[in-house]
């Protein structure tokens, strides 16, 4: 009897504990509500006509000087503050006039002349003119820390200017670029957010601290940055394009995907990226929410370090690994947002080689290849992965475990090493890994931006590698270099098709997927069309009352 009673007591205790934990959930949600009371203030402000867009995301910006960063979170914000000479169309990577109204190129493709707008001021009140464009381009050619300038114009420590020989103000509102060799994607490249034109006055005034005090010409003006908390922008009434519909944009950092989604559900944020794939259905079922899908222009992959001594330096082994991973099963972990990849290029891009046949899943064949390479008994290997989901890879850790289990079938023993995002980029750029997950979202809609950045030997330098497979093939290098200087798109397509064949054969990657990254938003967000390049200005977006 007594025993029964004490068991009952234990169950009672359990229920009390569950009750307490339920209560504590309530308190935490009231905690959110009290944060939301800030939101109430905003509603009262809204009554007086002010609209605030609160954007929730997983990580803070690193710098607000776009020329020095490559991370999407920095560029998301700078895309609001700065303008480039030309901008992308709303839904494609075709360019339209922005700071430049018209442009022409010489017959040989070496000289580009841009006519600039003559009616624009920077947010700090100084005039925008040809001299400010020259100032920016000369600044980017002073140091290798302007990373994208190096990637896109072939600049390096030895040759800081790269293919841009000189930039001159040939009139008050006319700029002329002289290139050392023709560059087919040049115009598309100029539309990339990293080449946003900054106010020369502000750059000189703030010096080292400029990245905290950005001044551009864009649709929003920088107001305040609380590191790891929020970045606030307000609308630029003088904007030369369409003046923004919302008065304020607040980028809030909420690291946990689940917590961020709960804030969206409770209405304390309006828009969020980095949705857990499991929550997509929940959001679609919610009457107050909508899922907006960003057009796909990315790839996620497993890079195999071909540079390190050991099994992965052998082509047969890399092919065996391609055969031993069941892509279909792996992609089911993307919960419907991913399509299997067989090329480094996404299929939406011209130059995609659809004739290539993927390796397919064949464990026996994989074992045979391993035996042929002399690794019949398998080997030990590391797989580097990262903690937070990325748009092209929603579940990196789980995917790593799935691959670990699949490779066990061919006696390959995988040790998973998980780092946070910053560290992961560092160690993979340094080539410490055997295998590593990574992905890429296209910047300018040109195949060069995938193949040259990710798989050319020029970008396989330890410390700043975009090519983390450290894949060095001279034939591929020649093809990619030739494609850069060739101006005829049909001929370029030929070259890229050929390069993809060689890459497929050499198998420096196991290409995983191309995703359509979901963005969850409250129902009253309208006119928002995410751009394939990963970020877009918010001036057209509106909040319906």
């Amino acid at each position: 009897m007594l025993k029964k009673r004490s068991i009952l007591a234990l169950f009672g205790l359990l229920f009390i504990l569950l009750f307490i934990s339920a209560c504590s959930n309530n308190t935490s949600s009231t905690g959110e509500e009290s944060e939301g009371s800030g939101g109430e203030d905003q509603t009262t402000e809204e009554a007086s006509g002010e609209k605030t867009l609160i954007f929730g995301r997983g990580a803070d910006s690193i710098q607000l000087d776009p020329s020095k960063v490559t991370d999407g979170e920095s560029i998301y914000v700078t895309n609001q503050i700065y303008d480039t000479l030309v901008r992308y169309q709303e839904e494609s990577t075709e360019v339209k006039p922005a700071l430049a109204t018209e442009w022409e190129t010489s017959e040989d493709g070496l000289t580009w002349t841009f006519q600039l707008r003559d009616d624009i001021k920077f947010h700090d009140g100084t005039d925008f003119n040809a001299e400010s464009v020259v100032f920016n381009f000369e600044r980017w050619a002073t140091s290798a820390e302007y990373i994208y300038y190096g990637y896109m114009f072939g600049a390096s420590e030895e040759d800081l200017g790269g293919i841009i020989e000189k930039v001159e103000a040939t009139g008050d509102y006319e700029v002329t670029f002289t290139l050392s060799e023709p560059n087919a994607p040049f115009l598309q490249t100029l539309a990339m957010p990293p080449f946003g034109i900054a106010s020369p006055d502000a750059v000189e005034k703030h010096g080292e601290d400029y990245f905290k005090n950005p001044v551009g010409t864009g649709p929003f003006v920088f107001e305040e940055w609380l590191p790891d908390e929020s970045i606030t922008l307000s609308k630029n009434e003088e904007y030369f394009g369409e003046v923004a519909n919302v008065d304020k944009v607040v980028f809030r950092t909420i690291p946990d995907n689940g917590a961020r989604f709960m804030e969206l559900q409770s209405g304390s944020i309006d828009l969020m990226t980095g949705l857990n794939p499991q929550d997509i259905q929940t959001a679609e079922d919610d009457q107050n929410l909508q899922i907006i899908r960003r057009p796909s222009m990315n790839v996620s992959y497993l890079a195999m370090n071909t540079d390190k001594e050991g099994p992965l330096s052998e082509k047969l082994v890399r092919q065996a690994i391609n055969l031993a991973i069941d892509k279909e099963r792996l992609i089911s972990l993307y919960e419907g947002i991913g399509k299997p990849a067989k090329n480094p290029l996404p299929p939406s891009l011209w130059g995609y080689n659809d004739d290539i046949e993927d390796y397919g899943y064949d464990v026996e064949e994989a074992k045979a290849l391993l035996a042929e390479a002399g690794y019949a008994d398998g080997f030990d290997i590391t797989l580097y992965t990262f903690a937070n989901p990325r748009p092209y890879m929603p579940q990196p850790k789980v995917s790593a475990q799935a691959i670990q289990e699949m490779l066990k079938e061919i006696n390959v023993n995988v040790e998973i090493i998980e780092n946070d995002w910053d560290t992961h980029l560092n160690v993979t750029e340094n080539g410490e890994h055997d295998m590593a997950f990574l992905g890429w979202t296209g910047d300018n809609g040109d195949p060069d931006n995938f193949l040259y950045v990710l798989l050319d030997k020029d970008n396989a330098k330890k410390g700043s590698a975009g090519n983390i497979a450290f894949y060095k093939n001279d034939e591929v290098h020649d093809l990619l270099k030739q494609a850069q200087t060739e101006m005829d798109q049909e001929k370029r397509t030929e070259l890229y098709l050929k390069a993809q064949e060689i890459i497929h054969e050499d198998a420096p990657w196991f290409p995983i997927a191309h995703t359509t990254p979901p963005i969850a938003a409250s129902k009253n967000i309208v006119n928002y069309s995410p751009h394939p390049t990963g970020s877009e200005p918010f001036n057209l977006l509106d909040i319906e009352q």
């Binding site: 929550d279 792996l330 789980v398 790593a400 799935a402 998980e418």
Partner: protein, 305 residues
């Protein structure tokens, strides 16, 4: 200091009879304790939970219904069913089997971490208490420094230095547990070394080592055992916390804390993925705490009827 005959029935090498008597007494103490534990309902529940845990760990391959690492990605996030008693996780692995194998890891963590803490803590505490003076000062100030850190923070720092792995998590949790043992043992030694039977053995010329290990430490056994039992629960909890932060067990080890963190993303849609490992941690820690409390009461001579 009394010159009267020693009234305590403690060892006297000259009288073998009294040695036997002491052994009988000691045995009686433990028998008494056992009886009192069985009589106390809460500690009996604790004992039962621990027994179930140990049996599960020993017979894991028999009890588990599936392989604990086999994945079935297509059938991920299945709710509990006849096939998968506690459902499946994010890679379609059987949660019941993973929890069953996880008991092995948890017991291993508990025993090894507490073992480390106990051995080092007892040595430090007894040396400090027995010799006193500057040795005491040095050891106890170091212990004070260690206690000034929040324990989980110290463990995180240690793992950060050693590198994330299950072994290092055990070492870190063990090191974090040292101060408690050291303090308990020191205070017990302080009171015991003033007793007359210690005085006596010193008087007949016993060496320090003999006095400390033969006479002082055996009489500190009760508080050490109680502390060890209570610490196992905390150690399992701390190690689960480290694994939850990704600093302990590495995939695919079915450690409960690691299972919690892996299932966290799906908490709204598939709550069973985190609920059951969480419940397992809760029950085990509860078991060790109940038993430890019962043991403390049972071994306390003041509570003797």
């Amino acid at each position: 200091m009394s010159l009267q005959p020693n009234p305590t029935p403690e060892p006297n090498p000259a009288l073998p009879d009294s040695h036997d008597l002491q052994q009988t007494k000691a045995r009686k103490l433990w028998v008494d304790a056992l009886i009192r534990i069985v009589k106390s309902k809460t500690s009996l529940i604790g004992l039962c939970i621990i027994l179930v845990l140990v049996l599960t760990a020993i017979f894991a391959p028999v009890i588990a219904t599936h392989s604990h690492t086999a994945q079935d990605i297509i059938n991920r996030y299945q709710p509990p069913s006849a096939e998968h008693w506690l459902g499946t996780d994010e890679l379609g692995r059987d949660i019941f089997s993973r929890i069953v194998y996880g008991t092995r890891i948890s017991i291993q963590i508990g025993v090894i971490a507490v073992g480390i803490a106990m051995i080092i803590g007892v040595v430090l505490g007894s040396v400090a208490g027995y010799f006193g003076r500057w040795i005491d000062q040095i050891i106890m100030r170091i212990i004070d420094i260690m206690m000034a850190f929040p324990s989980i923070l110290l463990a995180i720092a240690l793992v950060a230095v050693l590198g994330p792995s299950l072994t290092n998590a055990m070492i870190a949790v063990g090191i974090v547990g040292i101060p408690q043992f050291a303090r308990i043992v020191r205070s017990a030694v302080l009171s015991i070394k003033e007793t007359e039977y210690i005085e006596a053995s010193k008087a007949i010329g016993a060496k320090h080592a003999r006095v400390l290990f033969q006479h002082v430490l055996p009489n500190c056994a009760a508080p050490i055992i109680v502390q060890a039992t209570l610490s196992i629960g905390t150690a399992i909890l701390d190690a689960a916390g480290l694994s939850f932060l990704g600093l302990g067990a590495q995939p695919p080890t079915p450690e409960w804390g690691a299972m919690l963190t892996d299932g966290r993303a799906a908490i709204q849609n598939a709550p069973w993925v985190v609920a059951f490992p969480g419940l397992a941690i809760f029950l085990v820690v509860l078991g060790f705490n109940l038993f430890g409390d019962g043991l403390r009461d049972a071994l306390d001579p003041r509570l003797k009827e």
